[in-house]
């Protein structure tokens, strides 16, 4: 297997890299020290030049996001690291947080300096108990090594980082949902504008970045923006962690340069599908990304603009391989149940629309479907997306329904007309 350029996993294989001493031996926190000498604008400029884009799912250029923060020093600013990772098919942040907590902390120190923030929080989903323990231990070590707390590295800059444990809500992965959860209320996203960079946590300027985005910052500072641009494509530079899952020989997390062809990820690195299964479809970017049929998947390149041209999105990089034995109506049943269960219920189109779509798919699956259901599903999904709601969960719920029904219409029609499906053997009602 050709080895690919490593940015995040550069020091992954070193034993006990999670310990602070080992991490510092291998050049850990040097970049944080150097960043503190530089002016914040300079750090932001380097990150902007590197073209680093948000790895959580939206792909918003990180440098630009940092530049939105107002410069007046009087206002308290917050840096929030989004470790909620509840997008189905994604398990990349977990490895970074468990195996290399210090890399994330170093990235956060640099980011905090860039936006002049002295209090940062890492929001981790409640299920990741190992990541929480690893990060809390890492923060403690940093305090003893005077890397965190008051005037770190002997400079005037002081920074506190706290871990905040979530409690099982996919919506808290959304920027303002995370902020509402941090403020002690339920994870209801906030009406935008004002955007979080202007008025976020406690109505103060706050920046929310994904774990992977922050973990890439130290490498960029060390090797410079142009070195980072060498990897990946012009519009989406750098490398990205891809989580391959489904019935493939070796599923797992791989760090690949952006623009890497999906076909090679599945068949070369992933080792192809398990015994005598062949490819039916691929979900390229987590549950909310539009599905690709096998033919489309073979032509797709894994970068922001590559997925866009194929009509889907890179999203969080969770690549799920769908074998030919999988009935698409059953799969949509699972996905629509996920969005119905996770909708926060604040806006009407999403709260009622996701519930309705799931009920329709449920009745199609259990032979109660009506011929006009297919068109109704498309109408509903079309009428909850496109800025109709406060946050993007409605769009995320509408895209799978729209793409499954459009690209595998025949299966839905068979389920309704023939009231039978050779693939769907599972009978227990769920």
């Amino acid at each position: 297997m050709k080895d690919f350029p490593k940015v995040l996993f550069e020091r992954l294989e070193i034993p006990n890299i999670h310990k602070i001493s080992v991490f510092q031996e291998h050049g850990g926190y040097q970049m944080a020290k150097r960043a503190l000498q530089m002016a914040p604008e300079e750090v932001t400029k380097i990150v902007t030049d590197s073209g680093l884009r948000g790895r959580g799912g939206a792909g918003f250029p990180t440098g630009m996001k940092w530049s939105f923060v107002p410069k007046d020093a009087s206002k308290i600013k917050y840096l929030l690291c989004n470790g909620d990772e509840s997008e189905p098919g994604t398990f990349k942040d977990r490895i970074l947080m468990e195996k290399m907590p210090h890399l994330l902390l170093e990235g956060m120190i640099i980011a905090a300096h860039a936006i002049d923030c002295h209090r940062a929080y890492i929001y981790i989903r409640g299920e990741f108990t190992e990541s929480i323990a690893a990060l809390e231990k890492a923060i403690e070590d940093c305090h003893t090594e005077n890397i965190l707390g008051k005037n770190i590295f002997g400079t005037k800059f002081n920074l506190e980082i706290h871990v905040f444990k979530g409690a099982g809500a996919y919506i808290c992965g959304e920027e303002t949902g995370l902020i509402s959860s941090l403020e002690g209320t339920k994870g209801w996203p906030k009406v935008k504008p004002p955007f979080p960079a202007i008025a976020g946590f406690n109505r103060l300027p706050s920046i929310v970045n994904n774990v992977e985005t922050l973990a890439a910052v130290p490498w960029i500072l060390k090797n410079g923006a142009q070195a980072y641009r060498k990897f990946g494509t012009e519009k989406s530079p750098g490398t990205k962690l891809f989580c391959l899952s489904g019935p493939v020989k070796n599923p797992g997390t791989y760090e690949l340069p952006c623009g890497f062809p999906l076909k090679d990820l599945i068949f070369d690195i992933g080792g192809g599908l398990l015994d005598d299964l062949n490819l039916k479809a691929v979900i390229p970017g987590g549950a909310s990304a539009k599905i690709l049929t096998a033919e489309e998947a073979l032509k797709t390149t894994l970068c922001y603009e590559g997925c866009q041209t194929m009509g889907t999105m890179l999203g969080s990089g969770g690549v799920i391989v769908i074998p030919h034995t999988q009935c698409m109506v059953d799969l949509l049943h699972v996905v629509s149940y996920f969005f119905k269960d996770e909708s926060c219920g604040q806006c009407t189109p999403c709260r009622e629309g996701t519930g309705w779509m799931h009920k329709i798919v449920d009745s199609i699956l259990h032979q109660r479907g009506r011929p006009e259901d297919v068109q109704l599903l498309l109408d509903i999904s079309e009428n909850i997306q496109g800025g109709r709601t406060i946050c993007a969960l409605a769009d995320a719920a509408a895209w799978p329904v729209e793409s499954y029904v459009k690209k595998f219409k025949q299966e839905f029609v068979d389920h309704i007309e023939k009231k039978a499906c050779n693939l769907y053997k599972y009978s227990a009602s769920l």
């Binding site: 994604t90 403020e183 209320t185 899952s245």
Partner: protein, 158 residues
């Protein structure tokens, strides 16, 4: 009956003080602490937490009822949450769930007679590469087959 934190829990609760500028942010950590302390968030616990943080009980219950990991009903000693999302569902995790429910002869989210287990489905647990995955209280189990799960459940001390 009146509930209250043990001294150790109270010490940990007071440690939340300095974490946040906005005191209301301590609600979620306090609810986690209360769940660890009392097993589940009964109405007395909600009132106690509300009094502790001087918040209206309605707002505390609103937050407690929003999150799936905070239990409003009593749960067994071991809470088995089986992921039934995309990849795990393709890897037969729903059959695993149905099998376990039938074997322990209990409905989803209810406790077994001996108050040892509560079985329920859960959304993606972030372990799709080792599907089907499940969690029992705080530990992950990967590539679980029905037989493997039965063995695990027996091996757990009651």
């Amino acid at each position: 009956m009146k509930v209250s934190f043990s001294p150790k829990a109270l010490k940990e609760f007071n440690s939340f003080e300095g974490l946040f500028d906005n005191p209301k942010s301590r609600l979620l950590p306090t609810l986690h602490l209360a769940q660890r302390e009392f097993g589940h968030l009964s109405t007395e616990v909600i009132d106690y937490v509300a009094a502790l943080l001087n918040l209206p009980s309605a707002k505390v219950m609103q937050v407690a009822s929003f999150y799936t990991m905070l239990h409003k009903k009593s749960v067994g000693k071991y809470e088995v949450t089986i992921c039934t999302n995309i990849t795990c569902a393709m890897m037969k995790s729903r059959e695993l769930l149905a099998h376990t429910l039938k074997k322990l002869n209990v409905k989803e989210k209810d406790m077994t007679q001996d108050k040892k287990f509560t079985i329920r489905r859960e959304e993606c647990l972030g372990a799709c590469d080792k599907a089907p995955a499940l969690r029992i209280n705080d530990t992950y189990y990967y590539n679980v087959t029905p037989e493997k799960l039965d063995k695990i459940l027996e091996s757990l001390p009651s």
